[in-house]
């Protein structure tokens, strides 16, 4: 009993921590420590996940007590740590950003933590019912976070779009699950998978269910053509919330995608080019990468550019998802590693964007950043570094993320897909480098508003942590690769 509680300690930590923080915020007059408290809860969650990982989650007796509703395995532990890391970095950024921009209301942290809790449930769900519960817990919190700037029309617009399209996607997903339940009589993913393997793959209702589920999943990972909400929601939300959406929500959505596709539709016929989901996913990946990269290059707002860049990264990850049809373990390990590198690079980029602005002069457009490299090198340098990692320049983490995903696609024989992905990452480098050009080689036009960097220990701490991780993952990927391979081993084969 106690060991079982230990096994789900990351979940308990974040859930109970969120409630305690809620109480502290309601009953205490002190405002300052909330960000630190929330970040501490998140990093404690990372520590708990690491502790259970090292203890050996398979050796805990009665670990199956939660299954099939909650699968506590190395895959879910990896995502517990990844999501808590992303949430912790967002909390640290919020500690600097919210007071600076006069948004300092304590609900932010409890909403963020409860949302993280939902994301962790989502990554561990082995049954479509818990999966849906986790999805809604995560999404409801994020809708509120996106609408956090109540007075701003843009924020409300983005949040409303996100809410409507998100609910729509959730409904499609639920419809798909309902059809699958009708065909197979199971709500647990393993049961659905077994029933599908027994020859339900040609059943039109099952195919309809799969298509609806794919659409719902594509909405959640914001793949083109289901990405319409992304730029508006990302731009309207306060930047730490944007970071949370780009990092944790996307990570949890990919965890859900991996588990659903590889468990419920993992049989050789569903996961084949001739009669399954891989071709649909491959084309979504191609459209996502191409459209997102082309549109990102035309943006005037850096925040919007980063939103499109996160759509493009979803496309690269989808390339890895397609490759899971040949080697489930190796390709999904590539996806997990990509998510890890994407998390730290994106968090760093958003953190640096926060650092470049202050009250009334938030850095939003390229013009705002003109010449900041000369005036404030300490703020521009981390921004440049994380953008290079997002672009995939060696020896940063981003390079190895792309390398492993593309390699698993090559080994699966998807040469054309890899070539398209490679061309796209070259196009992607254009708009990342454009920021560098503005920061280091342009001067602001006379009288134009310029961004002045803020000072904040919280944001600096988040940046240092991300920078250390980006460098460590870039220079010594071996250790983390063995971790992602162990996490992906649950898919076997």
């Amino acid at each position: 009993m106690l060991l079982q509680a230990f096994a789900i300690s990351p979940l308990l930590m974040v859930g109970i921590g969120a409630m305690l923080l809620m109480m502290a915020e309601a009953f205490s007059k002190v405002r300052g420590g909330l960000a630190l408290g929330a970040a501490a809860v998140c990093f404690a969650g990372v520590a708990c996940a690491a502790g259970v990982w090292m203890y050996g989650v398979e050796t805990i007796p009665g670990i199956d007590a939660f299954s099939p509703w909650l699968r506590v395995d190395r895959f879910s532990l990896f995502f517990d740590a990844l999501l808590c890391l992303g949430a912790g970095l967002s909390c640290l950024m919020a500690g600097g950003y919210l007071p600076e921009h006069n948004l300092d209301r304590g609900e932010f942290y409890s909403l963020l933590l409860l949302s993280t809790f939902g994301a962790m449930i989502l990554s561990a769900a082995g049954d479509v019912l818990t999966l849906f519960l986790g999805l809604e817990t995560m999404s409801l919190g994020v809708y509120c976070l996106a609408a956090f700037r109540r007075a701003s029309a843009r924020s409300s617009e983005g949040a409303l779009k996100y809410f409507l399209l998100g609910s729509f996607a959730a409904a499609l997903l639920l419809y798909g699950f309902a059809l699958l339940y009708g065909v197979t009589g199971h709500t647990d993913l393993q049961g659905i998978g077994d029933a599908m393997a027994k020859g339900n793959i040609r059943n039109p209702m099952a195919i309809m269910g799969l298509v609806l589920i794919l659409v719902g999943l594509a909405f959640k990972v914001s793949a083109v053509p289901f990405h319409m909400w992304t730029p508006d929601a990302y731009e309207g939300a306060p930047t730490p919330a944007t970071n949370f959406m780009a990092v944790a929500v996307k990570g949890a959505a990919f965890a859900m995608m991996l588990r659903v596709l590889l468990t419920a539709f993992g049989d050789p016929r569903s996961a084949s080019w001739a009669s399954g989901w891989p071709p649909a996913l491959a084309w979504i990946a191609v459209i996502t990468m191409t459209v997102a990269n082309l549109v990102a290059g035309r943006q005037e707002s850096v925040k919007r550019m980063l939103a499109y860049s996160s759509v493009a990264h979803a496309g690269y990850i989808l390339v890895g998802m397609v490759a899971t049809m040949h080697s489930a373990t190796q390709a999904s390990a590539g996806v997990l590693f990509y998510l890890l590198t994407y998390t730290v690079s994106t968090a760093g980029a958003f953190g640096a964007l926060i650092l470049c602005g202050r009250r009334g002069a938030e850095a939003v457009t390229y013009e705002d950043l003109a010449g900041i490299g000369r005036r404030h090198p300490a703020a521009a340098l981390p921004f440049a570094f994380f953008l290079l990692s997002l672009a995939g320049v060696p020896p940063t983490a981003g390079f190895f993320g792309k390398w492993f995903v593309f390699r698993s696609a090559m080994e699966g024989g998807f040469y054309w897909l890899t070539i398209i992905a490679f061309i796209n990452s070259v196009i992607g480098a254009y708009y990342y480098l454009r920021v560098l050009v503005f920061m280091y080689m342009r001067e602001p036009a006379a009288g134009a508003p310029v961004a002045t960097p803020m000072r904040s220990g919280y944001v600096t701490a988040a940046l240092i942590l991300s920078a250390v991780l980006v460098i460590a993952l870039g220079l010594t990927p071996t250790k983390s690769l063995s971790v992602v391979f162990q996490a992906a081993a649950i898919f076997g084969g």
């Binding site: 809620m22 109480m23 309601a26 009953f27």
Partner: protein
């Protein structure tokens, strides 16, 4: 399938036909004599005043949400109470956790002033 759902579809057909007949009948057969007074915005007999885009504080929705939360709580407690003996300590602690979560939510709402009508 049709034998099972046939009467339902028939019922739907009858309902739609009847409703559209009423609408079409009212718009084609009815007499229309529009006057300026009739076309004005209507507000309980008096002239309407003020802008349309007001920010209203909707007091009752928080109370309504709290009511729904505790209603659902009762829905979960009844079956739990019936199987109390067979569920054992696991059941007891599960329900305790559930109740604590809800009480924390209530305390939060209370402290934030959601229960105060006059504010």
């Amino acid at each position: 399938m049709f034998a099972t759902y046939g009467p339902m579809f028939l019922m739907m057909l009858v309902a739609i036909t009847l409703a559209s007949l009423f609408f079409i009948g009212a718009s084609t057969l009815g007499k229309k004599k529009p006057t300026p007074e009739k076309m004005m915005p209507f507000e309980c007999g008096s002239d309407s005043s003020g802008g349309r885009h007001l920010k209203l504080s909707v007091k009752f929705y928080l109370t309504a949400i709290l009511f729904v939360v505790f209603d659902i709580e009762a829905v979960f407690i009844y079956p739990w109470a019936i199987h109390f003996k067979t569920l054992g300590w696991v059941g007891f602690f599960s329900m305790t956790g559930f109740l604590v979560t809800i009480v924390v939510g209530l305390l939060y709402c209370w402290k934030k002033g959601a229960l105060e009508w006059e504010k």
